[in-house]
Symmetry: C2
Subunit: 652 residues, 2 copies
């Protein structure tokens, strides 16, 4: 099995697409967010995150401010900065991170406890509300930060601190007599402990992760007992969620559907997959597969966004995927990438990589403005500015990305994912190497104990032409598995210029051989414009299609197509009628799609609101489509992914 999530080899991503995104994060996102965490962004909601640590360390006076989980923001930022330092060493940034770590660690208590909310407000209350008060969530993120920073820099200050913190947690929580049989209201510590275990090899860390997974939802329900102790104030009591808001209504192995808060669900499932992989627990792996199926076959947007409802930031029910009231939190799409990556480690099937790619290229990077300075929390598939303003049910759908959020989980989450993209490209299983994502650059990793170097050249996702050259200095034997994405129905492959047709298994073309230095594979994935339908059970998309090309979902935006996007439809147009053109100056460089379309109008309707006699006038127009991730980078306006397409009626 692929034991490691962090491949940590000297992989470099240098294709134009991701290099731009990662440079933006490195140059803009990381410094900007450090300022935000220190309340230095004029006009943005203050974070108070670093200030809380200073107060908790006794360096200044004041109250804890911001959310109860504010500590996690700096943790995620440290982790993102660590990943950035891995591919772009930067002593000045490293110095800042060292300083930040020093501030964080200064707040740690003698017994290892570290959470500014309770340190400031009274340690006597700690561990009394695991369900809602996020101590384990903050701890989890701090562990992830510590592991990443240690792996990249070798520095142990934060690592040693979180090991002490975990010792403390382990002394308080657990199934043993005298401990609280609790688990986190917001998962993340499960996968964090698995990463810590990777570094420490300490079974205590594995066992604690496994305990959190297994204890969750068991009867008697810890959260229910805790609620009783806390006066029975249970926010979701009268909701249909109840404890499934926290994925804790029943043991995880009994959960059939992805339910409740979408980010929590993804983080939990990721931790479950980690534990299943590490321990070979097949029933837990089955649960992961079942929950995966629930998400990707019935509860996921075409952009890889998840969470159909603002209420609870949550899943609703099968095939309920409203485009205009969607939540689609950036963090939830990121969580889906985490989950997909871990399922790939569990079993290399391209369907996991397909979803990972779908989320990455669409619902994740849509969360960040092209300049890296503004962020979406919610990623809608249909926006009408007036509705965001005047329909309270859409008030969460913003037309412009925001500078910062009081609850700023998403911006640093984008940073840490984008900066660690190397870890998502490939995985190794025995003597087989799987290429999941096609990003240009150098890949260096160990396959079955043998060091392997590959150079990938591609203009993906704009082009489906990918060349992979073996750059190892000596011949190496291994099976190279190249993913054929689900969106691709036709491909060719050449090895050193000659066509080959290897077996396609679970979505991968497998080439098992001894590779010589300079061996060159040329994979050509057909990348036409596609009109994608949703499963007919998705009632919000009935009669509509989305335009896609390769992994990218496209959208119509007001700056290109004018107002009233609902009046646009696709006629009986075929994908071949579409034009694809590279626009280097537009939105950071995009492949723009134009299609023939139809614009309806209210000509002749005047004041009439309903009529059986008036025709709906329409005229041919050219529709301009841009990649979804690039929307809302110009003047604010309407946007739509799904539009009506004429059905040729059998009775017509």
């Amino acid at each position: 099995m692929d034991k490691s999530i962090l491949t940590l080899e000297q992989t470099r991503i240098e294709d134009p697409f991701w290099f731009r995104v990662r440079e933006t994060v490195r140059r803009e996102g990381i410094p900007y967010q450090w300022k935000a965490l220190n309340d230095e962004i004029p006009g943005a909601e203050p974070s108070r995150c670093m200030r809380n640590f200073r107060i908790a360390a006794g360096k200044m006076q004041g109250e804890h401010a911001g959310f109860i989980f504010q500590d996690s923001d700096i943790a995620k930022w440290i982790e993102g900065a660590a990943f950035s330092l891995r591919w772009y060493p930067d002593p000045e940034l490293e110095k800042i991170v060292d300083g930040a770590i020093e501030e964080v660690v200064a707040a740690q208590q003698p017994d290892g406890y570290l959470d500014t909310y309770y340190i400031i407000n009274g340690l006597d209350k700690r561990w009394t509300n695991l369900k809602d008060n996020h101590e384990l969530y903050c701890a989890g993120h701090m562990i992830e930060a510590a592991v990443a920073y240690y792996q990249v820099t070798g520095k142990r200050v934060l690592l040693d601190a979180v090991i002490r913190l975990v010792d403390h947690i382990d002394s308080v929580l657990g199934a043993e007599e005298g401990k609280l049989p609790g688990y986190p209201g917001h998962p993340v510590i499960e996968m964090a402990l698995m990463r810590l275990y990777q570094v420490t090899g300490n079974p205590k860390h594995l066992n604690l992760a496994r305990y959190f997974v297994d204890q969750r939802g068991r009867s008697p329900l810890f959260f229910e007992e805790e609620d009783k102790r806390n006066g029975n104030k249970f926010y979701w009591k009268d909701s249909y969620f109840r404890y499934q808001y926290y994925q804790a209504g029943k043991p995880v192995r009994e959960q059939e559907d992805a339910e409740g808060h979408a980010v929590r669900a993804m983080y939990l499932y990721s931790g479950m997959a980690d534990v299943a992989r590490e321990t070979g627990d097949s029933s837990l792996a089955d649960s992961c597969r079942r929950l995966w199926r629930s998400v990707v076959s019935r509860r996921m947007y075409i952009t890889g966004s998840i969470g159909s409802s603002e209420y609870g930031e949550a899943f609703t029910f099968d095939y309920d995927l409203p485009n205009d009231t969607v939540y689609g939190e950036t963090c939830a799409a990121i969580g889906l990438v985490f989950f997909a990556r871990r399922m790939l480690s569990l079993e290399p099937k391209a369907e996991y990589a397909d979803v990972m790619e779908r989320a990455l290229y669409n619902g994740v990077i849509s969360g960040m403005q092209l300049d890296g300075r503004r962020f979406f929390y919610v990623n809608p598939l249909e926006v009408l500015p007036e509705a965001s303003l005047k329909d309270h049910g859409k008030h969460h759908v913003k037309v412009e990305r925001q500078k910062w959020f009081g609850c700023a989980c998403c911006p640093p989450n984008v940073i840490r994912l984008v900066s660690s993209l190397e870890d998502y490209i490939a995985s190794v299983r025995g003597d087989a190497l799987y290429l999941h994502l096609y990003t240009g650059g150098d890949l260096k990793l160990s396959v079955g104990g043998t060091p392997v170097s590959l150079k990938t050249e591609t203009d993906y996702p704009w082009s489906g032409a990918i060349s992979v050259t073996v750059t190892s200095e000596t011949p190496v034997s291994f099976a190279l598995n190249l993913r054929v994405p689900a969106w691709c129905s036709s491909w060719t492959l050449k090895l050193n210029g000659r066509a080959v047709t290897p077996d396609l298994t679970d979505g991968y073309l497998t080439l098992s051989r001894t590779w010589n230095p300079g061996d060159r594979l040329e994979l050509s994935l057909d990348m036409p414009v596609s009109f994608v339908s949703a499963n007919p059970r998705v009632y919000e998309d009935a009669g509509k299609v989305a335009v896609t090309r390769g992994p990218l979902v496209y959208c119509l935006e007001e700056p290109d197509n004018g107002k009233d996007l609902h009046l646009l439809r696709l006629g009986a147009v075929r994908p071949e009628d579409c034009r694809v053109e590279w626009k280097p100056e537009k939105l950071g460089g995009i492949m723009e799609i134009t299609t023939p379309g139809i614009r309806e109008s209210d000509a002749g309707w005047g004041d009439t609101l309903y009529s059986s006699e008036k025709a709906i006038a329409s005229a041919p127009v050219s529709l301009t489509w841009i990649p979804y991730y690039a929307w809302a980078n110009r003047d604010p306006g309407e946007m739509r992914v799904w539009i009506r397409k004429d059905t040729i009626s059998p009775s017509a």
Copy 2:
């Protein structure tokens, strides 16, 4: 001008359609609601309404319970009972009403004040929160009840009480020095005072109504001043409504759009139209016309329901008419009927009657179960039971009517409107009689001082054949105006068996002559099945049609068409392909429509959520449509009004 809203002549409605509804209200609704107001319905939310009066009168101890406007429920019930007694004398009911009035009046204070909330909780606080605390709203409804009961029975107990109450109000509120320059947060007293004025002829009553209309929204804003006095707790402060929630953000003559709480808007506009008619105030009439246009041309559902959003139970913006998250409160559709009726009195134009009819036959009576025992507050045009349960944004959309509501404004409102339908059928202007609604029965009223009797026979709304026979005993000269509904594109008219083609002006066929006893008009309105489109600007209905016949909007319901109604569409079907059949045993007797249709399916899709290659299978089916008002009278399930209809693409 038509000075009177209450025609109060001996009009009888005896056609099968309305007789059934009115009998249901009389036999079931009125006794049931009296029990509800006395907390005698097992399993229903207790009202506490009559209990509050008993406490306020010092007959028992206890706290005020229920909403601050709970008094209005008994007022509306008394009014409804009065109207019922007008067409169906019932000494037993009259005795109950007398008793109820005795209980109400017993709570009145020596200075005329009457509001149980403040009587029980302390009179020192009265008149301190006109914006939210509904004293004037309760007073308004009590005035309407008193006037109706006096007009029907000649009994003055409640009338005298409300005259004392109005004297008290007039002593406290007004533009004069020393009075509070306030007005109601929830209008209704405006139109109530106009009805009182009709009975008393006391200019004080007219002037107070006019004051409330004119003072509203004037600067400095009374509500803003009041908020300052009350600690600036203003619920809608951060909403886009602000004071327009109350239609008080600016003077009524400056308001362009129907905004804020839909019921309040309708009651206000109705009062404005009353004042405009009575005083000949043409600028106020213009405001009424402008606000009417805003509602009916841009903000009204095809069912005559209004209020697009649960948030604030309010209007949102032009052409925003979501079918599944709609509010469409029964009271708001009733309010639209009030407004339409008053616009007809202002100027007899059939467009007002068209809307009145649309609301009455659809969004109003949909509010009551066929057996008269359960009620809808919200009247959706699209229901998916799972969504009502699991999508919080649709939690207000109920799949079944409820027994009663904590806030029970709608049930007694249905009762009072249905029981007073006589007052909506016709109006008189000079020597012209306008027939607005076609209901079978006897119409006796005074036209230009001459008593006129007509007998109407019809099976409307099931048939468009209407005969009107002059039953006056002597020849009478007047202009009879027969409305040709906007839904009717073809009609014939015979006078004593011979075809006539009178002028059609403002939607009325005018026949000016001396009518002899026995003269008989036969109007035949073509009533085919129609496929109605919404104005293309209504984005929620793009690509869809509604099926209608005559004034009735039809819907698809799960008991007839199975689940997954979103999979159904109309192909290139023509209205002529539809079958109309009388079903005497179904839903109280309905004309059922069947149309050819198409049912899509997810056959072949399996676990696939998105695909550019899979076709959407479809098969011809027969669709069964029932009148919208009759939905939710069988097993709970899905319902839809608007469904997709194939567009024949010009490029196909």
